[in-house]
């Protein structure tokens, strides 16, 4: 048996922690390289897919599709504009009706100016005498809250022949209040300028309905007959209050 003259150094055994760190480091190194390659590959694939999708979208947007798109957009825009215009449209018919109903037989109009968009009528008239002027004012007052919102006869002059010349300014209510069913106590209210106003229905300071801001006609049901309600038209900070009584409603035919 050989005898070792110079004894070799006993190999140092690596500690378990060093071995763990070594293998972990090696594993992580290999794993991170693989990950890098995999991510880079998928990134490349995604770029290719994005290009393909872009192409596909471009191919789909043919001249026909673009033309169809513009045609439909155009019709959509025109229809929206048309609806808005029609909703805000006012008829001059109510102006003639309002005046024909309310002018005294002994009053002759010498000038008549109607501002349809502002619901205003300015007249200059000749009454045959002062009593007729008073009766005319009473007539205007009797139509308040039905067709006339407010009126103003602030001055008049008496001529030598005892006729009375007077200017008057009338503001008509912004819309039509129509009772169409007395049986169900419901009524339809059409309010002009629905685009500009939010419409509320009030009774004794209590809000019953609203805001109603779309459509030009509203149906209120279950109202009490011969009761005063208020229609509040609000536009920003300004509000216009139109009181009306259900007993005063016109019955639509």
């Amino acid at each position: 048996m050989a005898i070792e003259i110079i004894p070799k150094k006993e190999q140092e055994k690596p500690s378990s922690i060093t071995a763990f760190i070594y293998y972990l480091g090696k594993f992580l190194l290999i794993f991170s390289v693989i990950l890098c390659l995999a991510f880079a590959f998928f990134q490349w694939r995604f770029s290719q897919e994005i290009k393909a999708i872009d192409n596909s979208i471009l191919i789909r947007k043919t001249a026909d599709v673009l033309a169809l798109e513009s045609k439909i957009d155009n019709y959509g825009r025109k229809t929206r504009d048309f609806v808005q215009l029609i909703q805000g449209k006012k008829s001059s018919k109510s102006f003639f009706q309002a005046m024909e109903d309310v002018i005294h037989p002994d009053v002759v109009l010498t000038s008549f100016e109607a501002n349809v968009s502002e619901n205003e009528i300015n007249i200059t008239a000749i009454a045959s005498n002062i009593t007729v002027l008073d009766q005319q004012a009473r007539l205007f007052r009797s139509r308040l809250n039905q067709t006339i919102h407010s009126f103003d006869i602030s001055e008049f002059s008496r001529e030598k022949d005892r006729t009375v010349v007077f200017p008057a300014k009338l503001t008509l209510i912004a819309g039509d209040i129509v009772c169409y069913s007395e049986k169900s106590n419901s009524m339809e209210i059409s309010v002009d300028y629905v685009n500009a106003f939010n419409v509320y229905l009030f009774h004794r300071n209590q809000k019953i309905a609203g805001p109603l801001s779309s459509g030009s006609q509203y149906l209120f049901e279950g109202l009490t007959p011969r009761t005063t309600y208020e229609l509040h038209l609000r536009n920003g900070d300004s509000a216009s209050i139109i009181p009306f009584s259900t007993s005063f409603c016109r019955t639509s035919n």
Partner: protein, 174 residues
């Protein structure tokens, strides 16, 4: 033999690679993945959009008559000449006489964005009932015509029994 120095070197280099290479690559990968997801969604939306367009086109065919009416209601240009001609025809049909077309303006509408507002002022003469008929026929015409103001006065010619009417109307176009 595993040297401690080697172990640390391996470990540190792998940590450095992870932090400075793998993580940025991963971040780019996630960004691209999101992009692809969005693009896929875009493609689906585009397909749906084209499908909807085709459906809308077939739906539109049912309403061709109404759409033609809307086309006439808001014309593509102010067409003042045709508007004056229309008023002249309406006057004739209602028994009125178009005396004068005083002025017209075309400007962008403040209330209806995208629309041009044509304001036209004209005078007619005739009797009261015919004037009412004229306004009614204009307001109910296919073209959107709004009466802004009107005034009634005695005709300047004393011999004439007819009344004179000044009217301001508004029409809309693109």
């Amino acid at each position: 033999m595993i040297k401690t120095k080697n172990a640390i070197l391996y470990f540190l280099s792998s940590v450095i690679i992870i932090v400075f290479v793998v993580l940025p690559v991963l971040q780019n990968f996630l960004v691209k993945y999101q992009e692809v997801k969005i693009k896929r969604q875009e493609l689906r939306q585009e397909e749906k959009h084209i499908e909807d367009l085709k459906k809308a086109e077939s739906e539109l065919e049912k309403y061709l008559a109404s759409l033609e009416m809307i086309d006439k209601a808001i014309s593509d240009d102010p067409a003042i000449a045709s508007l004056v001609y229309f008023i002249e025809r309406s006057c004739q049909n209602s028994g009125m006489f178009l005396e004068d077309v005083k002025s017209f303006t075309v400007e962008e509408s403040e209330i209806f964005p995208g629309l041009k507002e044509t304001t036209l002022e004209f005078s007619v003469s005739g009797n009261y009932n015919d004037f009412k008929r004229l306004l009614n026929s204009m307001e109910n015409s296919v073209k959107v015509i709004k009466t802004e103001k009107f005034s009634i006065r005695k005709s300047e010619d004393e011999k004439k029994q007819a009344l004179s009417f000044d009217v301001i109307i508004k029409t809309y176009s693109y």
